[in-house]
């Protein structure tokens, strides 16, 4: 262990420290997979046409309800 932490010694120690702990480090495969899987799950509602689809579904539901109530009115005569 260096006894006196002169500036050059500390510079060298810092470079050695980073190389010792970080050289060859790669992002773990399971993390990459998790990130990709999460992205795939979210992709369907992050697409640009998602709001249009939501509006279309809402409109369709409205007309189904409207048609049902009209049918009920016709069938039961009120």
């Amino acid at each position: 262990m260096t006894v006196e932490h002169k500036d050059e010694d500390l510079d060298q120690a810092l470079r050695g420290y980073y190389h010792a702990i970080l050289d060859g480090v790669t992002a773990p495969e399971h993390l990459r997979r998790q990130v990709l899987a999460h992205t795939e799950q979210k992709r369907w509602y992050m697409t640009p046409w998602a709001p249009v689809l939501a509006l279309a579904l809402a409109s369709a539901s409205f007309f189904v309800v409207l048609a049902s109530s009209r049918m009920a009115e016709i069938i039961f005569g009120f």
Binding site: L10, G16, Y17, Y18, A20, I21, V25, T26, V35, H38
Partner: protein, 161 residues
């Protein structure tokens, strides 16, 4: 994606000081990258852009969690230099462990400049551009970080002898 992911992960490992937090921040970083990708205007390189997101995530992670590299010992936290490298040097390992301990006492902004200066070998100007701070601030942060580390290492040496 691969080289960028590895670069970001190495940074996060250095910044967070342990694999658990680095994993968490890595995930949140790339989720943000996906979310904000349509807003990327190409003013910086993609790696620089992702690295900035990672730095912001690392900073906000600390604020959210309110913890400071406390629960994990350095032996568990970081790769063991002896396991995957030839020519194991006990003196170097001791220094690595001392500096790992010293790093725990440094704030994130100081750890950042040390990482980019000593590991990525970036110039003051490049670090200033990356961090969006003046060149003088980069210099002063490096000076302050080394000063704090030196004080820690001296105190540590005194306790040991």
């Amino acid at each position: 994606m691969n080289s960028c992911a590895n670069e970001v992960y190495a940074y996060l490992l250095a910044r967070m000081g342990n694999r658990f937090d680095a994993d968490d921040v890595f995930q949140s970083t790339f989720l943000k990258v996906r979310r904000f990708l349509p807003n990327f205007r190409g003013e910086a390189s993609p790696t620089t852009w992702v690295m900035r997101i990672a730095m912001n995530e690392a900073s906000s992670f600390r604020r959210d969690q309110g913890r400071e590299l406390s629960l994990v010992t350095p032996e568990d936290a970081l790769p063991d230099p002896s396991t995957d490298r030839m020519g194991y040097d006990p003196a170097q390992a001791e220094t690595v462990q001392d500096i790992t301990e010293g790093m725990r006492h440094l704030p994130g902004d100081l750890r950042d400049v040390l990482y980019f200066f000593y590991y990525k070998a970036l110039s003051y100007e490049q670090i200033a551009t990356l961090l969006g701070i003046p060149k003088g601030t980069v210099k002063s942060r490096i000076f302050r970080a080394k000063q704090e580390l030196r004080v820690y290492l001296e105190a540590h040496r005194d306790r040991r002898t």
